[in-house]
């Protein structure tokens, strides 16, 4: 009974327009490694934010019982006080500060009213030893690799005397060696009595490390499986995650017809002036009319940077060499506007960050990229705008009571459809979709896949960047794989399997 360190009961969390969590039950045994899996948008991260107090007590329904007592965390400080530490995908370290400053940031070692820096450095070294990270604690965090930063985060958690460690996709950005190290560290910590909850999409890891696996789908707990007693296969987990056989998720296209190459980049090399380093090296890529190409790769492989450098967002990226062709014509886009004019559109991976104007309504967002077409004389024809917005609402099934609905209140799937409609209205030849189904539910995903198929059947070309390997494999006619800013392979649909794509995605070019 009391061997549960944590019990979350009937957790319900609503956002305007979406029920992110709907009666989730989640129990974690003391001293185990518990993996939480589910599709993007299933509610895993939301659940962890409820646990940590990011969503304070009162903004959700349900109970949290920790160490046998009911808790009402009102802030992260409350949950940290109890020994709960969460390490997010976006690491919460301060790049300009040193490793030891970061480890004790927020709970500085004091001597009276002043910080005892000597003690801090000594203690930081101890913590680094525990996570087996051999770096000088005075080095700045920005000079560490992503994998090492991850370990610094864990060292920070350990310095706070953590009892329950939560890791949100800790290996998403790591290569195979770093991932293996991290998993080994978790096993060690388990022996020292630290309970871990790990959110992960990498099912292979989940199967290898988990004592218990809980699957969440569409905001509800589907099942919780004991992985110690009997072996659980990846296939089993997937079945629970998606709720149906995988074959059904990706609608098949009948009689594919590919035209000429309509978009191509050659020897595309790009620098990031802010980071002062080359981020893309000699990328070659092309797409034919009527074709969907997928770009697979791990986080940080340079896929979004590739798309943005193509789309003409030049202040952030300097193209040092390379050529770009649309329908065989050489082009150079200085601004997204020019790309759109040439028929190249880019739908962002980050709907809320730079994809949509959330405080405006649906019709505003649909029309913003192509107001030229709605302008008569000097003024806008708002009637035409309404007609067009309504047409898109109907044709791609944006679920909203009216096109005057504020976009910020829509669910992720409907927001994604608005973002798509915005660029479809421009009438592009080449559509670059960056993580087109991130954070949206299975139903909306299927609709977006069907729409993609329809678009290529009409002669459009689609470049799809996705971190969901199954999605890339399910939808693409050809798969490009990227790693550390280079294309490490291009596979035809028939030869692309999870194994060989992953092998290419983790291929690290030796820097001489």
């Amino acid at each position: 009974m009391s061997d549960y360190i944590l019990e979350m009961q009937n957790i319900v969390k609503e956002f305007p327009g979406v029920k992110a969590l709907n009666n989730v039950d989640f129990k974690v045994k003391r001293g185990e490694i518990h993996c939480l899996v589910g599709e993007n948008g299933a509610g895993k991260s939301t659940l962890m934010k409820v646990l940590s107090g990011v969503y304070p007590y009162g903004t959700y329904d349900g109970n949290i019982i920790y160490n046998g007592n009911e808790k009402q965390f009102k802030s992260i400080a409350d949950s940290e006080q109890e020994g709960i530490a969460i390490i997010y995908q976006e690491l919460a370290l301060i790049p300009e500060l040193s490793v030891y400053e970061n480890i004790y940031f927020g709970h500085e070692l004091m001597e009276g009213k002043v910080i005892n820096w000597n003690q801090t450095i000594v203690s930081a070294q101890e913590m680094l030893k525990k996570v087996k990270l051999d770096v000088n604690p005075s080095i700045k965090v920005k000079d560490l690799s992503v994998g090492k930063r991850q370990l610094v985060e864990i060292a920070k958690a350990l310095s706070k005397n953590v009892k329950l460690l939560v890791l949100d996709e800790p290996t998403a950005a790591l290569n195979e060696d770093d991932s293996a190290n991290l998993l080994e560290l978790l096993r060690q910590l388990k022996l020292q009595g630290v309970t871990s909850i790990m959110i992960s999409h990498k099912l292979k890891e989940v199967v290898s490390i988990a004592d218990t696996i809980t699957v969440i789908r569409d905001g509800t707990t589907i099942c919780s499986m004991d992985a110690q007693e009997h072996k659980i296969t990846e296939h089993e987990i997937i079945k629970y995650m998606v709720g149906r056989e995988i074959e059904n998720i990706y609608p098949k296209r009948e009689n594919k017809k590919f035209g000429d190459v309509c978009f191509e980049i050659k020897n595309w090399t790009v620098r990031n002036p802010a980071l002062d380093r080359e981020i893309l090296h000699n990328v070659n890529l092309n797409v034919r009319r009527g074709e969907i190409i997928g770009i697979a790769g791990l986080m940080g492989a340079g896929r979004t940077e590739l798309a943005l450098s193509i789309f003409g967002n030049t202040p952030k990226y300097t193209i040092t060499s390379g050529d770009l062709y649309v329908d065989g014509q050489p082009k150079h886009f200085k601004h997204p506007k020019e790309a759109l004019k040439s028929g190249v559109a880019y739908v962002s991976e980050d709907r809320k960050g730079n994809g949509l104007i959330l405080i405006q309504d649906i019709k505003y967002n649909i029309s913003i990229a192509n107001l030229e077409q709605l302008t008569e004389g000097i003024s806008l024809n708002e009637n035409k705008e309404i007609t067009i917005a309504k047409e898109y609402q109907r044709s791609i099934n944006i679920k909203a009571p009216s096109i005057k609905q504020i976009v910020g209140n829509l669910s992720g799937g409907n927001q994604q459809k608005v973002a798509l409609a915005k660029f479809l209205f421009v009438g592009p030849k080449v559509l670059i979709l960056d993580e087109p189904t991130r954070g949206i539910d299975v139903g909306a995903k299927f609709e977006i896949y069907s729409l993609m198929n329809k678009l290529v059947e009409q002669g459009m070309s689609i470049i799809m960047i996705s971190s969901e390997l199954l999605e890339v494999l399910g939808m693409s006619d050809r798969v490009y794989v990227m790693s550390e800013g280079t294309i490490t392979g291009c596979l035809a649909a028939e030869e692309a399997t999870e194994q060989n794509v992953m092998a290419m995605a983790t291929r690290v070019e030796e820097v001489v």
Binding site: I368, L371, T375
Partner: protein, 399 residues
């Protein structure tokens, strides 16, 4: 209520309540303006609402109103311009010097407006192209233009303006139709035209909404709204007609307001301005040239500051070394009181004008009551912060 047998239709009471809920911010502003008017007319024994004082109020509010319109655009795109006051003061002095050297007003005014645009190009370039925060650029501008104002007025002190046409801008009134008697007929006529336009646009908007099956307000509410607006227009026109008619300042403010209202609501440029304020990165990735629009906003606010400087120096018939002091505070306060969001992306120039009238009514009323300037600042500051806090609370609630 009446909706017992008509399912689907909502009673007027409920509709009013709904309107109140969604537009509470605007209504509170109108109510605040009315309350201010009532309090001042009571405290000054009716002097505040006298035709003469209301005419004065319009002339006083004019320069703040035009600058506030420019400021609203700047605030919508999430920047700020602190230099507007001294730009207005400096360019007012430039106008005075040009006319002192024999140029007629009709030549001096365009030159000054172009100078305003050039100042906008300078500040806009630093903000949009170089990437210096607007706060810093325009704070530096505050120093620079304050210095330039002192320099231009250094030799002579206050520069007297003798050009009659120039002085008439903020002291004169539109001419009347010759045949009329005591009442300013043209003023009344303009009032009637304005009412006809209001009725026409309200009905047109409603029909349009209906055509696309959007929710429309019920007939009684529409009529109520039209009657209310018409009554206010007629009341103001009647009072002005009883004095000397519509001041030229009001005409200028109205033209600037109409142009900017049209730009913001009916043109591509306006859409882009709101888009940049809502999410600059998303706007950029939708093909909006954020740099260009930012340049426009800075040029426009500096040009309107120049216009404000013209109105102010015309009002005083002179350029003084202290002209422009504190205009930026009044302009920013007017915009925020008028409902511009502190997070950018939201705001209407029509409401900014109301905000400007709130601020200038406070100044005018407290002056009539003989209240010390120190207290005036405190009162304005308190009202300003209350307005913004209220704005944030109502917006958060709606989420």
């Amino acid at each position: 209520m009446s909706n017992s047998n008509e399912t689907g239709k909502v009673g007027i009471g409920q509709e009013l309540l709904g309107l109140l809920k969604t537009n509470i911010r605007d209504y509170v502003m109108y109510i605040a303006l009315v309350v201010i008017f009532v309090i001042f007319s009571f405290m000054t024994k009716g002097l505040f609402l006298s035709p003469r004082n209301l005419s004065d109020l319009v002339n006083q509010a004019g320069y703040v109103a035009v600058i506030a319109i420019g400021m609203t655009v700047i605030l919508i795109i999430k920047h700020i311009d602190l230099s507007v006051g001294y730009v207005a003061g400096f360019l007012g002095a430039v106008a005075a010097i040009l006319m002192k050297n024999g140029l007629p007003a009709i030549v001096a005014i365009p030159i000054v407006l172009v100078c305003g645009i050039l100042i906008g190009v300078y500040q806009g370039t630093l903000v949009a192209k170089v990437g210096v925060p607007a706060f810093v650029v325009t704070l530096a501008g505050m120093f620079i233009f304050r210095g330039l104002l002192s320099l231009t007025t250094a030799g002579t002190g206050t520069i007297i303006i003798k050009d009659e046409a120039y002085k008439a801008i903020s002291n004169g009134y539109i001419p009347d139709i010759p045949i009329s008697g005591n009442v300013h007929l043209l003023t009344l006529l303009i009032g009637i035209i304005a009412i006809v336009l209001v009725v026409y646009s309200q009905i047109k908007t409603r029909n349009n909404l209906r055509k696309y099956n959007f929710e429309v307000s019920s007939m009684p509410i529409l009529i109520g709204k039209i009657v209310f607006l018409s009554a206010i227009i007629m009341y103001i026109m009647w009072i002005l007609a009883g004095y000397k008619g519509i001041p030229w300042t009001a005409v200028i403010v109205a033209i600037v307001l109409l142009i900017y209202n049209f730009i913001l609501n009916r043109t591509r440029l306006g859409r882009y301005i709101y888009g940049i304020g809502g999410n600059a990165e998303a706007a950029e990735l939708s093909g909006v040239n954020v740099q260009k629009i930012t340049m426009f906003a800075f040029c426009s606010v500096s040009m309107l500051s120049a216009l404000g400087g013209i109105l102010y120096s015309s009002r005083l018939a002179s350029a003084t070394p202290t002209a422009g002091t504190g205009f930026e505070l009044d302009a920013i306060a007017s915009s925020y009181i008028g409902g511009v969001s502190v997070n950018g992306g939201i705001g209407r120039v029509t409401n900014t004008i109301i905000g400007a009238f709130v601020i200038m009514s406070l100044t005018n009323g407290m002056n009539l009551m003989g209240i010390d300037i120190s207290y005036q600042y405190i009162v304005k500051g308190v009202i300003f912060i209350l307005a913004v806090a209220f704005d944030i609370i109502t917006r958060n609630k709606r989420k």
